[in-house]
């Protein structure tokens, strides 16, 4: 196995996440696309760790940090979406124009 094959899968996953981020209307679906992108980054970190084999498993530790921050992001993001949904009766990103000038 070579490193590049994992990097290419991660790049494809990241590109899919960007596509979803740009196309989706529903805010929950946008968060799903962000999860895909974070997952691609994790794959990169673990692949490099496995290729370099640092003595402290630095890549895996950073992947765990990314997973933790992603969990926090989902919690707070869904709470914000819920709050907006309660106020505006919609979860579409196009309708969130409150701060538009």
């Amino acid at each position: 196995m070579i490193v590049t094959q994992f990097l290419v899968v991660a790049a494809a996953l990241f590109a899919l996440g960007v596509y979803g981020l740009l196309v989706r209307r529903n805010a929950v679906m946008v968060l799903l696309a962000v999860e895909l992108m974070l997952n691609a980054v994790n794959l990169n970190l673990v692949a490099f760790e496995s290729a370099i084999r640092s003595s402290e498993a630095v890549g895996q530790v950073f992947a765990i940090f990314v997973i933790t921050v992603a969990a926090a992001e989902v919690g707070i993001g869904l709470a914000i979406i819920l709050m907006i949904f309660r106020n505006r009766r919609s979860a579409n990103v196009d309708d969130f124009n409150l701060m538009k000038w």
Partner: protein, 184 residues
């Protein structure tokens, strides 16, 4: 290294199977017109990624991914979908159709740039660590040794985010409503 010698390694067959699962279900996450199907496709994509982690002999991260993501985050997503969209069937208005061509171009170009960078930068560097198990005690010692301060900071961030989430999502009654209910 030629393609046929690459294909003769059995681990690369596992890689091809897992990679195609990840990409197909990742594609379904961003294109499915049914919100529940999109969330469930994310489960398949994450499970495939956990399999790739196992292939790279990162067992601890793989099981953390399964526990945290498939176990907790997806459930949270399903709740979010069910609360914000009462009818959960097909929805034709889920995508911004005008943005589709431009988004496709952007993501394809991004993929080509990233893949080309990886190919030209790393070529055929072998993954030396695959097949050799990472002892989880290395990860643990590292987390509570060199990375103990980032570890504590990230746990504090998680705590703050959860408290913030609860504070945001709970319904605050106005003073008049509270008086009506007699809770004051």
């Amino acid at each position: 290294m030629t393609f046929f010698s690459w294909l003769s390694e059995p681990t690369n067959w596992v890689y091809l199977a897992l990679g195609s699962v990840v990409l197909v279900s990742g594609f379904r996450v961003v294109t499915s017109q049914n919100v529940i199907h999109a969330a469930l496709s994310l489960v398949a994509a994450l499970a495939g990624t956990a399999g790739l982690f196992l292939l790279l002999s990162a067992e601890f991260v793989a099981w953390v991914l399964v526990l945290v993501y498939i176990g907790a985050v997806i459930v949270l997503f399903l709740f979010g979908i069910m609360i914000t969209r009462a009818p959960t069937g097909r929805d034709v208005d889920l995508d911004n159709k005008a943005a589709k061509p431009l988004a496709a171009v952007v993501s394809v170009v991004l993929f080509l740039v990233l893949a080309w960078t990886a190919l030209s930068g790393f070529g055929s560097t072998e993954v030396v660590g695959a097949g050799v198990a990472t002892a989880t005690d290395i990860v643990g010692t590292s987390l509570l040794g060199r990375f103990v301060i980032p570890f504590e900071v990230v746990s504090f961030v998680l705590l703050a985010a959860l408290i913030g989430g609860i504070t945001l999502a709970r319904r605050d009654l106005s003073p008049m409503e509270e008086e009506e209910r007699g809770t004051v």
